[in-house]
């Protein structure tokens, strides 16, 4: 099967930062209704294999577009900017300082008396920066400033990781 179409085309929408996630979900489920392997359970092995490939492709497309970070990386990849490569943000000292500061805050939380309110404050702080970066990306991407947009993505990557770590710490605190 030739899936040369891009992930946006799968859902019959045009490539853009702005994606209506609810609408995307409706389109996604509609497509899976048609191509999920369960629809081909009594069909030939060849058709089953095709259905597995089709459904996998649709799942990957949905997974990519619904996540802000993956969507941003994918938009840049469509423009020929590969986000896997090393970033330029290592020379951004302001960002570096902020990174170090946030990491320190995170590592000190579990030792503190009032861990929960501290972690909530940190989460709020990180999330608001994350949203700012998304707005920054949108602006740069739409102005064709792909190098700047690439930097924004690299920063988003750091904040996504940090949010995961905050989640892990919350889980540890809850289970303690």
């Amino acid at each position: 099967m030739n899936f040369s179409s891009d992930f946006f085309a799968v859902f019959a929408i045009s490539p853009s930062w702005d994606v209506d996630i609810d609408d995307l979900g409706v389109r996604y489920r509609k497509l899976q209704q048609e191509f999920h392997p369960d629809r081909y359970a009594t069909k030939s092995d060849a058709e089953k294999r095709l259905a597995v490939q089709a459904a996998s492709f649709i799942n990957q497309a949905f997974d990519t577009l619904k996540s802000p970070l993956k969507r941003a990386q994918y938009l840049l990849a469509l423009k020929g900017v590969e986000s896997e490569q090393e970033t330029h943000i290592t020379s951004d000292t302001v960002f570096l300082m902020r990174q170090i500061e946030l990491r320190e805050t995170l590592s000190e939380i579990s030792a503190k008396e009032d861990s929960w309110s501290n972690i909530e404050a940190l989460r709020a702080d990180v999330e608001s920066t994350y949203y700012e970066l998304q707005a920054e990306f949108k602006h740069q991407y739409e102005s064709d400033l792909f190098d700047d947009a690439f930097n924004a993505v690299a920063k988003m990557q750091f904040f996504t990781k940090l949010l995961v770590e905050i989640g892990q710490l919350e889980a540890e605190l809850e289970d303690a």
Partner: protein
């Protein structure tokens, strides 16, 4: 089974021809089989009217085996030959099995391949064989009840079952001669039973505490689509553990020594189990054991099981986090599994989710009912456009990298089917082979995760270190089963493996076991196999002719059409003449191969029309 049916999904080419499909709940303590009759799912009873089949197999010395209630009668008199809770051993290696050793008093041995087997009066049996006995019993019950052979079954597995456990379940089905339409996760099955019954919309949490396994799933249900957002649990935690906790308390009260013989162990466990069940309705229970008598109150039992329950609540919390759903966004909570009858379990779940759980369907039967509903859709009796399941993989899949570390390729709770590729390179000059070690689990180190399979990509042309590009692709199908491909991109050398976990059976072993078990009924099997092949052949002929008529001119050139027509004619001839099922099977396969391109083009065409917005236009109204 290769059959080519190219009619529209959900449309049966012969609407009047009903196919027989069942749902099977292969449980730790009890198993059930259910089917849909006149639109209603119901569990099927045996001749005595019993729906639950105890998952117990007894091996007697003359080579006779019995299954179910009959087998359970030997539980105390012949513990070593009476196999209970075999699901806990399914897909497990010797080390896992040894860890359960003091709970399951069997005589474990290993075969040449290092696979754990149980020594019985009938010789060594593997957990897969024991499970197959249970499946056979259920299938014959279904065939008697439905008055005909089965065309397929949906078999449920705990959502938290790993790759090896899933594969072992599928192997057991193959051994029992059951065509598996789908392995379905138990909580998802329960959600189907409830969702379709109550026409629910919204977010559902399913808390499934069975005899030996615990699962929790968070699902979103909208317009007939069941989307699993996250799943979690513990494939070695269940009501059995409550029994063991109570039995241990009893042992101390009675003052028995720590090393019990198998019969004493069984007596303690049976007493513990009976006490637990009685405490569902009463505040305390009088217990007599040997020459000791005493009282167990519900409060005391609650403290004995508290730690186990807290473990389940932690898993619920983690699944909510994975699903990115706040606990107050849960609309419905469903309780599944016999162990949710325990009062403290209900209270704990209600307290955590803040919602009174639904219990109007029998917690022992709900999984089988859901499986039957899904089987009905998959087999094509029901036009399928009203229901779809989007399930997830419960544990991350990764690959070993330098230093005994794991790089995750597919993360847990990713919707399946899924394919992910990652590129690696060589680290030595002139390196011509690369070892691929496939693992499952959440931890960072290889030693802490389950090893699923290893294979080698050979024949990489010698290059300087870092020049080769090796793409490793993980593909997980809708049953949650994995296949892995490795390909060197500059030379196109490829190597692939269907992941057969280290604890499964290999093909030869299955074939051998099948032959052994069927040798006494070889003629029956021949006849049955021939009949199945004939059904396949008829269907294929009919579908292919219809497809040729509809799309042949559009999608094929004259030569291709002729080629297919000749193939169909040959198949029709063999179908009419042969009594040898293998001959017919070969021809069915040949025609299947010949028509593969045609099938692919038809599917492509249908995808294109959907992606062109043809069906998306209707979303707004839908």
């Amino acid at each position: 089974m290769a059959l080519l049916q190219i009619s529209e999904p959900g449309q049966s080419p012969q609407p009047h021809q009903r196919r027989q499909a069942v749902g099977i709940d292969l449980g730790t303590t009890n198993s059930l089989v259910a089917s849909v009759r006149s639109g209603m799912a119901e569990t099927l009873p045996d001749e005595q009217g019993r729906h639950l089949l105890p998952s117990v197999v007894h091996y007697a010395s003359q080579g006779a085996t019995c299954v179910g209630n009959e087998a359970a009668e030997h539980n105390i008199s012949d513990p070593l030959n009476t196999i209970l809770s075999v699901k806990r051993l399914l897909g497990r290696g010797l080390e896992d099995v040894k860890m359960l050793g003091n709970q399951l008093p069997y005589d474990f041995q290993t075969d040449q391949g290092g696979m754990p087997k149980i020594a019985t009066a009938c010789g060594l049996v593997s957990p897969i064989q024991v499970s197959a006995e249970i499946l056979r019993k259920l299938v014959s019950r279904a065939e008697a009840s439905l008055d005909g052979a089965l065309d397929g079954a949906v078999i449920t597995v705990p959502a938290y079952f790993d790759e090896a456990q899933r594969q072992a379940t599928k192997d057991a089905a193959t051994l029992a001669g059951v065509k598996v339409l789908r392995l379905l996760n138990e909580p998802t099955a329960a959600a189907i039973a409830y969702g379709l019954d109550n026409e629910k919309e919204g977010v559902i949490a399913v808390y499934d505490l069975g005899g030996g396994t615990f699962d929790v799933s968070i699902l979103r249900l909208s317009r007939g689509v069941f989307e699993v957002l996250a799943t979690g649990g513990d494939s070695a935690l269940g009501g059995d553990d409550f029994d063991h906790a109570i039995a241990e308390w009893l042992r101390q009260q009675v003052g028995m020594s720590e090393s019990l013989n198998p019969t004493e162990q069984r007596i303690l466990l049976e007493t513990a189990k009976a006490a637990k069940e009685e405490l569902t309705d009463s505040e305390s229970v009088d217990i007599e054991i040997l020459d000791w008598s005493g009282v167990l109150s519900r409060d005391v039992m609650d403290t004995l099981i508290e730690d186990l329950l807290n473990k389940t609540i932690r898993a619920c919390r983690r699944s909510l986090r994975d699903a990115e759903i706040a606990v107050d966004k849960i609309d419905t909570v469903v309780l599944v599994g016999g162990s949710t009858r325990t009062r403290r379990v209900r209270d704990k779940v209600t307290e955590f989710f803040g919602v009174e759980p639904l219990t109007n369907l029998d917690p022992d039967r709900v999984v089988a009912l859901g499986a039957a509903l899904q089987a009905e859709v998959l087999i094509g009796n029901k036009s399928g456009d009203e229901m779809l399941l989007l399930d997830v993989i419960p544990l991350s899949l990764g690959i070993e990298t330098m230093g005994g570390l794991i790089e995750k390729i597919i993360h847990r709770n990713t919707t399946i089917p899924v394919a992910k590729a990652q590129e690696f390179t060589t680290f030595k000059d002139g390196q011509t082979a690369m070892a691929v070690h496939i693992l499952q689990g959440e931890r960072e180190l290889v030693d802490d995760c389950r090893s699923l399979a290893r294979f080698e990509l050979r024949g990489i042309p010698p290059m300087v270190a870092g020049a080769a590009k090796i793409r490793v692709t993980y593909q997980v199908d809708a049953d949650g089963l994995l296949s892995v491909t490795a390909r060197e991109l500059t030379s196109n050398v490829e190597s692939r493996i269907e992941v057969k976990p280290s604890y499964g059976l290999d093909e030869d072993e299955i074939t051998q076991m099948l032959q052994d078990s069927f040798s006494h009924a070889r003629d029956d099997m021949q006849a049955r196999a021939l009949r199945e092949q004939q059904v396949d052949a008829d269907r294929m002929i009919q579908d292919l002719l219809a497809a040729l008529k509809e799309d042949g001119d559009k999608l094929l050139d004259t030569e291709e059409i002729q080629c297919l027509q000749v193939a169909v004619k040959e198949l029709q001839k063999i179908r009419a003449e042969t009594t040898e099922h293998r001959v017919l099977a070969r021809q069915v396969e040949t025609v299947g191969k010949t028509s593969e391109t045609f099938a692919a083009r038809r599917m492509d065409a249908s995808i294109k029309s959907a992606l062109a917005g043809h069906s998306l236009d209707e979303i707004e109204q839908g």
